[in-house]
């Protein structure tokens, strides 16, 4: 190209780039929305909203382990999204940093303001002001394969209710053949194990954090050690496939779908995936049991918030309001096996008689959600202490070392 042509080409490009925002404005408002990648329900929801005409939403899906990193970097660069679906655990940190729009007045004006799922509403509140509303309701529970229960000589209608029963069931299923395993967990996924493993500890009356979330109790609470020994035993006996040790979460949902796994922790997001992709599986669900009975669940999922830098707060709120409305909750949540964001709608015409959906909904009643500004650094960081502790204890068998490491690094992170 001659120099003159290059100059010309650059000019044309500059004109095109300059014209982009103009043409977008002419076609109405387009908002950006971010969500971490857990299933396809959000895309369906956004498609339904876009099909209505009016303001449009452009969805960006972020790998779950990267969400805080990417969101933080985007905010620092002044490019945060208009709408963000945030793991409820992180909502306080983003609200504290002043990155979410205060929507207290709008939320309080809703006729069903008091009907929103309490755990999510609490985490969406910071210093008495509301910054986020419930969006994805995910209480963890255990899904099980009734076909394998039957093949192993277990009663498919009576799922385990203690650690010992779970262990026995896993042993029986693993004994079917070399390709079949009793249990599954994603051994290289930090967040997956906060979601599905912590409840084993909670259900037995233990915890890894003190009640005020200011101290680590990993080395002092005997239940933590016993919970690690429980998983270690299943690992040692080969009741869990070896490939679980390198699963960074990418097979967290799909492993159970192969039909060779007896039991695995999951959330409401798993129900639709398994039913659509693996209709041949006969599924059951039960709450995550404590050592001698009892049950617990990780009250997880996402809250949805409006970025404080948005140019379109009204349009963004319209979407949030539409999402929480009776019709959307019934036709786009309940009808698709999802847990509703409204307490009074948890039991509805679609969930009647559906064990899986009802288990997912009732898990919320035994749900815990840790409230910590350093939650990501403690639990969800792929290089954080929670995952390293689990790997050293369960995969390597060094439980003493793991407890000490967990206690030390938790304490170090919480002290700043």
């Amino acid at each position: 190209m001659t120099p003159r042509r290059i100059v010309f080409a650059v000019l044309i490009m500059a004109l095109c780039i300059g014209a982009l925002p103009l043409s977008a404005q002419d076609e109405g408002v387009t908002m950006t929305m971010w969500v971490r990648n857990i299933g396809d329900q959000v895309q369906e929801l956004v498609d339904a909203w876009n099909d209505r005409g009016g303001s449009q939403i452009e969805l960006t899906v972020i790998p779950p382990a990267e969400f805080v990193t990417k969101m933080g970097a985007a905010i620092a660069a002044g490019e945060s999204p208009d709408i963000a679906s945030i793991d409820l655990i992180y909502a306080p940190a983003f609200a504290a940093a002043g990155q979410l729009l205060d929507i207290t007045d709008w939320v309080d004006a809703l006729p069903y303001a008091d009907d929103l799922i309490p755990a999510h509403s609490e985490l969406g509140t910071y210093q008495g002001r509301k910054y986020a509303v419930p969006f994805l309701i995910e209480g963890s529970f255990i899904i099980y394969n009734k076909g394998l229960f039957e093949a192993a000589g277990l009663d498919p209608e009576v799922p385990p209710s203690t650690w010992d029963e779970l262990l026995e069931a896993a042993r029986a299923i693993s004994a079917i053949d070399d390709e079949t395993y009793g249990y599954y967990f994603a051994g290289a996924c930090a967040g997956c194990n906060a979601f599905t493993y912590l409840p084993f500890i909670w259900a037995s009356g233990g915890d890894v954090l003190s009640d005020d979330y200011n101290e680590a109790t990993i080395a002092t609470d005997p239940i933590v050690r016993e919970a690690l020994e429980f998983y270690r035993l299943m690992w040692e006996e080969g009741l869990i496939p070896e490939s679980a040790s390198i699963d960074d979460g990418s097979s967290f949902v799909s492993a159970f779908g192969t039909g060779t796994i007896g039991m695995a922790g999951t959330g409401a997001f798993g129900i639709n995936t398994y039913r659509n992709d693996h209709p041949e599986l006969n599924l059951g669900a039960f709450h995550i049991p404590g050592q001698d009975g009892g049950a617990a669940s990780f009250g997880g999922g996402d809250v949805i918030a409006i970025g404080s830098g948005t140019q379109h707060p009204e349009e963004a709120w319209e979407f949030l309001e539409w999402m929480m409305s009776d019709e959307t909750q019934l036709e786009l949540y309940a009808a698709r096996n999802r847990t509703t964001v409204r307490v009074s709608m948890l039991e509805n015409e679609y969930s009647a008689g559906d064990d899986l959906v009802l288990t997912a909904a009732s898990a919320l009643a035994v749900g815990h959600s840790p409230y910590s500004l350093v939650y990501n650094d403690l639990f969800n960081d792929p290089n954080g202490p929670w995952l390293e502790m689990i790997q050293i204890a369960i995969l390597d068998g060094d439980i003493d070392g793991a407890l000490q490491l967990g206690q030390d690094r938790f304490t170090q992170i919480m002290s700043g």
Partner: protein, 297 residues
Amino acid sequence: MTFPNFSFSWEQRRKLTGMLFVAPTVLFVAIFFIIPLAMTLFMSFHDWPLIGEQAWIGTSNYTELAKDRQYLKSLDFTFRYTLLVTPPIFILGFILASLVRHNIRFIGVFRTIFFLPVVIGLGVSSLLWVWMLDQRVGIFNKILLDLHLIQKPQLFLAKPTTAMNVIILSVVWKTVGFTMILLLAGLQSIPDELYESADVDGAGYFRKLFYITLPLMRRTIALALILSVIGSVLAFDQFYIITRGGPRNSTISIVYWIFNNSFTYWKMGYGAAISIVLLGILVTLSSIQYYVLRERY
């Protein structure tokens, strides 16, 4: 009364032209190196969260380093990795350069094949290796199984040593072509007459290698070594993409730790402090290499 003479002398014009020629480079270096470096130094004395208010905290970030176990572990890991990955790159690079040295038929094809991995982005090649190492669909397990060298698919990334080995393999594959090209240029600059007279004197292959080839390639080797060591000390992509720092956080390189602190833990100031320390380490390392491999005659 005389008027000042505004026309430049030839000498002055020459200087001005020279300055105009270096100006773009000076500007470039200032914008993309000096200013960011000064900012990094400035940030390293602050508590500088990714989001929120920053505060001056003096040298606290630096004193903190001594207590940071992962930082020490990462330094140790990075140097072990550099020590392990450099010799294979050099030996293989030298062998490849010797193989493609002479202009025979189709030599261009081989040079291109050996160089090809260099032009792939490191991120892309890392993803490629993730799939090649996979236990269900990966080519490595398929080959090893077909050759009956293993009984069941191996999880290469499950153990620290195998994870390290396969990453070294991937990096050697990725970068050896570049070292080959540098060494090839050095090899081809040695006059054939020297080898011919050595032949007349009855020197064997190794004599020629140690008394002609290597001494005359000193500069080229110095350049290739410094580039290679800097690249290894700054390694990040392969660990971030292939192992995610695992298993048991055993493959967190020093740049990975800077990234984690800055963007995952939102401690930009602390990340900046590690970067400054790393810069010091690299300058020292490069100076030592340059001194050892300097021209002595």
